[in-house]
Each structure stands twice: as C-alpha cells, then as structure tokens.
Amino acid sequence: MYKLLASTYKEFLLLIRDFGGLAILFIMPLLLLITITLIQDNTFKTITETKIPVLLVDNDKGKVSKSIRNGLTKTNSFEIINEETENGAKELVFKGKYQLAIVIPTNLSNDLEKKVNENVEGILSKFGLDEAIDPVLKNVIAQKEVRLYFDPATQMSFKSSVKNGIDKMISQIEIQSIYEAFQQQLTEDESEAIFDTESFITFKEVNQNNTSEDILPNSTQHNVPAWTLFAIFFINIPLSINMVKEKNQGTFVRLRTNPISYSTVLGGKTLVYLCVCIVQFALMLFVGVYLLPILGLPKLEISNKLPMLFVVAFFAGLAAIGLGLLLGTIAKTQEQSAPLGATLVVILAALGGVWVPVFVMPKFMQLLSNISPMNWGLNAFYDVFLRNGGFREIVLEITLLFLFFALTTIISIVYYERKNAV
C-alpha cells in the first residue's frame, strides 16, 4: 500500500509539472465539446436561425410556383434568391456558390389545373354527374418536372431532407388542386366549403420518459455525453506517452531492478489518471450547465443525475486508462504510442456511435459496435441523461467497462512480465 501511495504521488508530481500536458488534458476537451455542440446545434433546433441560400428559377409564375416559394419561406430554413435562367442557376450551383437550385417548369400551374380538372371530370362522369369526355378530345398533358440542382459537395442527408420537403410540398399542392376542382364541379357557391382541406393526420413528437419531466434531446444533451466520452478516452495518449518516456529515460529499467511490482507502478498511474478523468468530466458538466447557455445553446439538464453520471464517468475513465496502460506497455516510442492511441480512439468513437448513430450503421458495423467500450459508455450516459436511468439500467454497461479495464491491465502485466522474465 505504501509503495502504491508513493507511486501515485510520483505520478501526480510528474503530471502537475507538465503544464503543457495539463493544459491539453483539460482545455482541449472543453474546446472540442463547445465547438462540436455549436456546430451540431442547428441539427437539433426546430427553428433555425441560419438560412441556406437557395436559387429559384420560376418559369411558371403561377399558383404552384407561388406555393412552393411560400412553402420554402415558411420553413425558415431557406433564403430564396431569384435566378432568371436554368443555365445560370446550374452554373452557380456547380461552382459551389449555392448548394441548391430549384427550377420550376413553364406552365406548371396551368397544366396541373388542366390535368386535375380532366381527372375530376372523368371521375364525376363515372358517377353520372358529368358528361364523359371523348378520349380523342382529351388534351395530352406532358408530365412536369421540377428540377433540383445540388452542389456536388452537398451531403446526402441534406439532399434527402430537401427532396422530401419539396416532394411533400408538391403533393400538398396537387391535393389542394384536386379538392378545388371537385369544389368547382360540385357547387357554384364559392363560399360553400364541401371539403375540410386541413390535414387529418398530424404528428406530435413525444419523448418516451419514465418520469413526468419532459427532457428534450437537444444538442447539449446529446453532445456533452458523446464528446465527454471521446475526451476521456483521449487520456490514453498522454498516459501511454508518460510510460514510453519512462522507458526512454531509463527509470523503468531502474524500477525493474527495484522490489516493486509492475502492477503497483500501473496502480499509481491508474489512480492519478482516473482523477484526471473525473476532473475532466466535472469541467465538461460545468461547461454544459453554465457556459453553453451563455453561448446561446441549450442548458445541460443534470438535476438528480449527478451521482449516476459520475459512476459512468468513473468506469469509462477506467476503460480509457486500461487502453492507455496497454499501449504504453507495448509501444517502444512516442511515435508508436501517440498515433496508435489517437487512431484507436477515433475508431472506437466511430464504432461506438459518437459520430453516427449505431442504428444507421450497416448490420456488420452494428455488430462490431457492441465491442466498443465507447458504445457501452455512451449507452450508459444516454440511459442517465435522456432516459433517467438508475444504477440498474447502467449496471451492464459499467460492468463491461470495468471488464475492459481489467482485461487490458492484465494483458499489460502479463506482456510486461513475459517480456522481462528472468
């Protein structure tokens, strides 16, 4: 025990003497958290303040184009910029000046009206309410095409959401036109409302919650746990560098000749770096609760969750330290440990669902994500942050995190003992 305390104190001194390293350990994760939360905030906002400029080529100049224009304006997501020609719009989009151009074809409103009228008359004639139109006299109305030009650099998710939005808008216009056509055919009185044109089916977003509290999954609630975990796992880099330095300085050689076990040496490192993880986590929470609201971001909601959150941070920290101990034991140089540690964290984060939710990953990657300690940590954090989970809900994840720490530490000790067996 005395040797463990001495080793812990030595590690503490080494850490506080490295001001640059300390700054990186505490300031960089905070910068990461603030930056990512600010960037991702709009994704989570229902009403966004940032408007995407969109080119609109209105060759129709009718009711439909007016509806599309109004629909786009109402979303509050787009700033409509008029462009005279399709070629001009195409060029500007391909040059990357705009992300999107919408080209509305000529006579869209007239042709839609004609087509709808024709269809309505056809239906009414079947019911004997109107005269049947001679098929020879029927107008041939060509299908109309609303063209969307996207900047090649535009992300798929953005493309999909814009396409879906415009598709929905056009469908609504078509339905509206059909209702109007029926109205005109069935009554002379324009004030008489035969149809209720309001949407019958509407959506309401309800967040499943086992308490009366309604916690909205905003950018802060999502980003703080994800990026805190990311930062906690980055601790493996300074830790493994610390161990490689000891090898290069020769102090490890001295310790091998002294009557102190490798597990005691690792124990000292574990205790100090675990404290670092906990302090890092506390700072992240502080930023989430007090600093992010100042920056116009949603406040991190942590009421009644602090003890559980620290339990998750404790075990996530242990897992991250286990990884660092293993890397530090195996690596011979800092050039090996630092890039390997960074790459591993990025891979584990990607697998763990820090960047892309696990459910949208291919099946094989979803299976792989189950072996990422970041996935266990993130699920535990979400259980506490968003699902108000208690100890019972997180016990599986924290057990896995602890087993990961135990396994990596045992491998480190066995590797060290075998390599240095005398």
Partner: protein, 247 residues
Amino acid sequence: MIQLHQLSKKYRGTDFYSVSKVDLAIDDGEIFGLLGPNGAGKTTLISMLSSLIKPTSGSFTINGLNYKEHKNQLKKLIGIVPQEYALYHTLTAFENLRYFGSTYGLKGARLKENIDEHMENLGLSDFANKKIESFSGGMKRRINLIASILHEPKVLFLDEPTVGVDVQSKNAIIKRLKQLNEIGTTIIYTSHHLNEAENFCTRVAIIDRGQLICKGKPKELIEQNTNTTNLEEVFLVKTGTELRDHV
C-alpha cells in the same frame, strides 16, 4: 559471495554469444572491475546479475541465493547503478530519491536521513530541491548513484558510473564508493577508464567477445605480462588493437 557458473547469454536474432560460459567467484567486500572493449559483454553480464535479462544457460548465486528462486530477496540485497541517468527529469533530486527509496520500503525519518546523508557526502545538499533537468552530467551521475544505495545494498553493480563526468565528480563518486566498500559493500563495476580501475579495484577481469580472458589483482596482471607497466597495456595485450566498432 557471488558465484557464476557457466553463465551464458545469446540474444534472439544473433548467431553469437554475448556472454559465453563465464565461471567467476567474487568474494564479499571486493571491488571487482569488469573490463573489456565495446561490445565485449560487460553490460550483458551485469544485466544478468541484476536480474534485468535472463541468462540463456548457466546460473549464478548472490550470497547463496539463486536468482530463479529468490528474485525478490535478491532485489533487496543488490543495488544497480545503470549507465544511463535513470531519473525523472521534472522531479527534484529529493523527490526522485524519496520515490526510489520508497520502492525499497524505506519511509519516514529513516528515508530522509539516508537521503540527506548521501546528498551531503556527494556534495549535493544545496540542490535537493532543484529539478534534475537543471543538473549537470556530473550531478546527475551522483544522484543516479544515490538512488541505488539508499537501501544500503550488500552488493552494488555499477555500469560505467563515471562516464562523461568531470574529474571532480569522478573523484567524489569513487571516494563514496570506497567508503561504502569500507563498511562491507561488495562492488562490481564496469569501466573504460583503466587507470581508474587499476587504482580502485581489488581485482579485475578482462572480458572480450563474451569470454573471460583473464582475472586477478591489477598488480599481478601487470607483472604476469612482460613489457607492460600498467593495466591499459595489459588490456591491449589481451584484447588487441583492432577497433571494435559494431552495430
């Protein structure tokens, strides 16, 4: 007593023995010098005796304790001064010594007294609270020595303890080693400074290409070899003048 029996070491990936079938007995209280050109096997031999590397074959005992069965007991019995400065550069001299002392179970007043005494003897008292990174090579060598003798080892291994230091530091180190020897510490050291070894050692062994070439008191070795007047000349007679560059 240190007893080596047919001790050999062949590193993985090499086709030669760095140390080959060395038989040697070193008595308690001796100052024994292991001399040899670069790559002769001196460091390998000391590394085996200090439990840093595993012998390929053969065995050795220190004070009757076999290295395989009494590893932890042996660690408490011996002290090793490595060739490199095995110190934490951002810690002070005192912090380094307190930590290394604690790994031997030393604590409290005894640990502090030991540190103060050795710092005093090696002229470093005024620098106890200075960081190692600000120390000169000679000062680091002396701290390196203190870190290995705080627990008062019965046997002290030193791998080139005076390399790269000024005459004053070298003198202080040798003086302190003689004091330790006077109180019963057996000293085994390697060096390229043959004049130093001639004056300092009670016995020396010359090793070349992993083999023990000769051993004895420096004076006797000089007398045994005609036309030699000092240990350096004996060394050249025994090991030749061929350069020993190796990678």
